[in-house]
């Protein structure tokens, strides 16, 4: 009997471990889900949200962290932004908050942020007829139709706040038709 209990306990233990990313009440993904409106709305300053206690994502205080939520079931999602900061990085997360793609300013072909998320189907169509306006955009293929874009801007101290604010103001998230791209 003890043996059966131990085997059962091991199975139950592993099941709980595997299910926690889906069931835990305050996962980063759940917090983002409620803090970020769906794409085409303005990006959200998560650092500011953390300061007032709306989210508790344990963000790096040396960075301004900006988030957008997207849904690419209708159209691809594009995020743009420009300005002068010492360092920026971007991460594309799936609906569970797992990073499927990340980049920083060194690997990007442009000075600013220009990234487009497409479903495998949209990517196939895009490859057949590339749009020139997206030629400098980082192309990310996502398996899931929803997710989050997280942008991090380095803000070492208050003297950078103005520059970081200007960068934040330039950030746009939205369905690609909003950027004048028609299929």
């Amino acid at each position: 009997m003890l043996f059966t209990v131990i085997i059962g306990a091991v199975v139950a233990h592993l099941a709980v471990i595997a299910l926690l990313p889906f069931t835990a009440p305050d996962t980063a993904a759940r917090q983002l889900q409620s803090a970020l409106p769906l794409s085409s709305a303005a990006p959200v300053d998560l650092s500011a949200a953390q300061e007032v206690g709306d989210v508790d994502l344990r963000l790096d205080p040396a960075f301004r962290t900006i988030g957008c939520q997207f849904d690419i079931s209708e159209a691809p999602f594009r995020v743009i932004g420009n300005g002068r900061v010492d360092f920026w990085s971007i991460s594309i997360l799936d609906p569970l908050g797992v990073s499927v793609f990340s980049a920083n300013d060194r690997i990007a072909p442009t000075v600013g942020i220009d990234l487009t998320v497409l479903s495998p189907n949209q990517l196939r169509l895009f490859r057949q007829a590339p749009d020139q306006r997206l030629e400098n955009s980082i192309i990310v293929s996502a398996e899931d139709l929803t997710g989050f874009a997280i942008i991090r801007l380095f803000e070492p101290d208050e003297s950078w706040t103005e520059l970081v604010d200007a960068f934040v103001a330039s950030i746009g998230c939205g369905a690609i038709s909003d950027f004048g791209f028609s299929s």
């Binding site: 233990h13 980063a28 508790d56 971007i90 990340s102």
Partner: protein
């Protein structure tokens, strides 16, 4: 054995198995941060924590803490909860954090309180970064952490009650996040100097 006896036996076995399994999972994910892929000094690093390559325990712990982890190409985060002697880090003690770090574009160093992440107001936001770090000695990192002013790169803990804290050092755009070779990993030594209660 009668039917009632067998039913009782079955229920006893299943409930104790599920109870034991769930209880142990709850205990483990509360404090166990996952199997550590890289470590040096008292630092533990988790490249790929945000990605699907993270082990199930690391993902479960991350889910419980609610932390938004950084992606591979963004950087890699190291955490320390003990000094070089193995004693728990405390806000009421002074520490020298000194040594070299793997190649990076910039690093940040911050202090968080331990085990109270559900209450954001208790979380310290005290931080330093490589941009505001005077390089005087011939090492990458030369920080003084503690409640009393010390050295050219002092990070104050004076506004935190004396309690266990965690040091978090993040290396942004570091090759360590994307390469498989973790040999010769160098991280700063955390040396305890003195505590306010002696």
């Amino acid at each position: 054995m009668t039917f009632v006896g067998r039913l009782f036996f079955f229920l006893l076995v299943t409930t104790s198995a599920i109870g034991l399994g769930a209880w142990s999972a709850e205990r483990v994910t509360r404090s166990f941060p996952g199997f550590v892929p890289i470590s040096a000094e008292s630092w533990r690093g988790y490249p790929g924590l945000a990605t699907s390559s993270a082990d199930p325990y690391a993902r479960a712990n991350l889910a419980r803490t609610g932390k938004l982890a950084i992606g591979d190409t963004e950087g890699v985060e190291f955490t320390a909860i003990t000094d070089s002697e193995g004693a728990a880090l405390r806000a009421g003690c002074s520490y020298d954090v000194r040594g070299n770090v793997p190649t990076n574009r910039l690093w940040t160093f911050r202090i968080e309180t331990v085990g109270q992440s559900e209450d954001a107001s208790t979380m310290a936001v005290n931080f330093k970064s490589s941009r505001l770090h005077a390089r005087i000695a011939d090492v990458d990192v030369d920080l003084s952490v503690g409640p009393l002013p010390a050295g050219p790169n002092w990070l104050s803990t004076a506004d935190i009650d004396d309690q266990p804290v965690m040091f978090i050092m993040t290396l942004y755009d570091s090759a360590i996040a994307t390469t498989a070779s973790f040999t010769d990993l160098q991280m700063p030594t955390i040396k305890r100097l003195a505590c306010i209660d002696g």
